[in-house]
């Protein structure tokens, strides 16, 4: 096989892996949007916050150390202990659940029945707040996150493909793990929403708030639950991206990458998020590989949006979105 084609296949595979990571973030959006009609811009910052908290707990950092030092003139930074990854993950989950409760109690409960755009703006405010809060709590320097996930080139695939084509594919172990975890997460979420009592309540709320209320489903409880699950998904996404490229501000920008994924897949569809993620992932990598050199590179910044834009002109509800029916 010609080298160029092999390159293209390798790029496609890597695009698929990247797409899975996009899909992971998009999932969090879809969950909240389905259950409460809120387009949660803060999802990316939630991933950043989760990753920051995880690193902070693992390294035994004192929360708000820089703030305390500035106010009281002390010089404290760490408790001086290390927490094992698994315990830290559980603790971070607890923090994300508390956060979900706070969001519901102090923000969303007061905004019931407002227009969607107001709710959207509120989540942007939330994103700003959490970004500043996370930095205040744990410091803004770039941190290394290592929870023991395998990293680096996968030798088996390299050797096997070398044996077949005389060219070894470069595929990161982390991407493979991410794919597996994302698949498990999606299947788990589907089982949860199909078969568990809470999942059914969740779907009922998504269908019709008032009808759900009238059969005795607590909206407050469901929304806290949904934000907690979104926090959990954010944590998983945060771990993956944080391990890949360090825990830093740019992590929150993956939310922006997830938006075109959502538009492609439709805001209300979990499979849509996955398929959209894969299309965007492969599309932008291939475009950068084939067309990028001709137009000066770095096309990844906008390709996903333009693709989604063109796509929407022909199918406004996205691939798997519910048909938009409008009545006067």
């Amino acid at each position: 096989m010609p080298d160029q084609l092999l390159f293209a296949i390798e790029v496609t595979l890597n695009g698929l892996m990247a797409g899975v990571l996009y899909a992971l973030v998009a999932l969090g959006f879809v969950l909240i949007f389905k259950a409460s009609g809120i387009f949660n811009y803060a999802q990316g910052v939630m991933a950043l916050f989760a990753a920051l908290t995880l690193v902070g707990i693992m390294d035994g950092q004192v929360p708000f150390a820089s703030l305390i030092n500035a106010v009281f003139g002390t010089e404290i930074h760490t408790f001086g202990w290390q927490v094992p990854a698994i315990i830290a993950i559980v603790l971070t989950l607890v923090v994300m659940c508390i956060l979900a409760w706070c969001v519901q109690r102090f923000v969303m409960r007061h905004l019931v029945n407002q227009e969607p755009i107001i709710l959207f703006m509120a989540t942007i405010g939330l994103a700003y707040f959490m970004e500043g809060f996370g930095d205040l709590m744990w410091g803004a320097d770039i941190k290394k996150l290592d929870v023991g996930l395998p990293q680096g080139i996968n030798d088996t695939i390299d050797q096997v493909t070398y044996g077949w084509f005389g060219y070894g594919f470069f595929i990161d172990n982390l991407d493979i793990v991410a794919t597996v975890i994302a698949a498990i997460l999606v299947i788990g979420l589907m089982i949860f929403s199909q078969y568990s009592k809470q999942g059914r309540a969740l779907r009922a709320v998504a269908d019709d708030h008032q009808a759900a209320l009238s059969v005795g489903i607590s909206l407050n409880y469901i929304w806290v639950l949904v934000w907690s699950i979104a926090g959990f998904v954010a944590l998983v996404a945060g771990i993956m991206w944080g391990t890949k490229s360090g825990v830093q501000f740019s992590l929150s920008l993956i939310a922006l990458k997830a938006l075109p994924v959502l538009m492609l897949g439709g805001f209300t569809s979990i499979p849509g998020a996955i398929v959209g993620g894969l299309i965007i992932g492969v599309g932008e990598k291939l475009f950068e590989f084939l067309i990028g050199p001709m137009v000066g590179g770095a096309t990844e910044n906008w390709f996903a949006y333009v693709l989604a834009l063109l796509f929407l002109v022909f199918r406004p509800q996205g691939l798997f979105g519910e048909k938009i029916i409008e009545r006067v």
Binding site: Q114, P116, Y128, F133, M263, W302, P316
Partner: protein, 358 residues
């Protein structure tokens, strides 16, 4: 006691339908104009012009532009930063290509070019709406910034990739470049703000503004009563982008002088202007000014308090500022989703009746 319409009789239709029908409002408006044009230019110094007044005026133009699109026509846009970049680069190209033409004409032409780009990116709004459209306008944001970053023609092949403004004068007084006085910067921005606000106010209360509002309130119903959605939506995009383009051109040429597109006109700028519109009040020209003033003053104030008085380090203060801004936005949305303009309206209602409760 002073804010009354009693004794204020309109004898012509013109008098009845003017922007400030209450005499007190009208005199207050003239007073504000007199102070802005006649007093402040003599008092302003470099710090006030650069830190507060000039950014306030320029953001007010951008906020008016976005308010026309989002507040009046109901099309949410997250591409403001990108459109401002179009204005900036268009004015730069024009200024370097035709140095003999007045800078004022260049700024207006830059607005016109931005209007064209805005219409182009507004085309999808005919098919998609709401969040889908908001995300679609992000395509404009990222694509335009990338374009200005990557195509050397736009920055005249300069080695740094930046654009920096040449010195231009209006009636002999430099208004761009390093030799500009604070008052000249302030005054040129003020003239543009005054013209834009006047234009916007009169557009929005005329026929075209009513078609925008009809589309905003319910587009299908508007279509049925004979509003052409194509014309209404695209004209909203055009007018909005025109103002945003002027804001971008002024931001580059008068305020900053040199621009690196990714830093200055990034996605953060889009959000900032959107916040101004939301906090100020959707669908209100006064709200655009109030929102711009609020979000320009707040960081300055916080920085003075935290860094100046309490002696915190700047990055700590920057994080704290994010928390405060985010918290304030949420608080505002909860307390008064219609923004500062609504508070102003309520205050005026109360004043009219004062000292009686009803």
């Amino acid at each position: 006691m002073i804010y009354r319409e009693a004794g204020d009789f309109s004898t012509t239709y013109e008098a009845d339908s003017q922007t400030f029908p209450i005499r007190f409002d009208r005199y207050r408006y003239y007073l504000v104009l007199a102070v802005a044009f006649g007093v402040i230019p003599f008092l302003v110094n470099d710090y006030w012009a650069n830190a507060v007044l000039v950014p306030f005026l320029i953001y007010a133009i951008a906020a008016i532009g976005l308010n026309i699109l989002t507040g009046y026509c109901g099309q949410v846009s997250l591409g403001t930063g990108g459109f401002m970049a179009v204005g900036a680069y268009a004015s730069y190209k024009l200024m370097t290509a035709f140095p003999e033409v007045s800078v004022i004409i260049h700024v207006i032409l830059a607005g016109g070019i931005t209007a064209g780009v805005g219409v182009l990116f507004g085309l999808p709004s005919l098919r998609i709406k709401g969040f889908y459209l908001a995300v679609a306008t992000l395509a404009a944001q990222f694509f335009l910034v990338w374009l200005f970053n990557r195509v050397p023609w736009f920055y005249n092949h300069s080695a740094s990739g930046q654009i920096s403004v040449p010195e231009r004068t209006v009636i002999g007084v430099p208004v761009t470049g390093p030799n500009t006085d604070a008052w000249a910067k302030y005054l040129i921005c003020l003239v543009f703000v005054f013209a834009c606000a006047w234009l916007a106010r009169n557009l929005t209360r005329g026929k075209i503004g009513r078609t925008w509002m009809a589309i905003r309130d319910m587009d299908i119903a508007a279509e049925i009563i004979g509003v052409n959605p194509l014309a209404a939506k695209l004209s909203a995009f055009a007018v909005s982008s025109f103002f945003i383009g002027i804001a971008g051109a002024l931001f580059f040429s008068v305020y900053l002088g040199a621009v690196e597109v990714g830093e200055v006109f990034g996605i953060q700028k889009s959000f900032l202007v959107l916040f101004m519109v939301i906090i100020g009040g959707l669908g209100s020209i006064f709200g655009s000014f109030a929102g711009a003033a609020f979000l320009v003053l707040l960081p300055v104030l916080l920085k003075n308090i935290l860094v100046g008085t309490l002696g915190w380090s700047t990055d700590l203060a920057a994080h704290f500022e994010l928390v405060i801004v985010g918290g304030l936005i949420i608080t505002f949305l909860i307390m008064e989703p219609h923004g500062l303009a609504q508070l102003w309206r309520l205050a005026k209602e109360k004043l009219r009746l004062w000292p009686f409760p009803h």
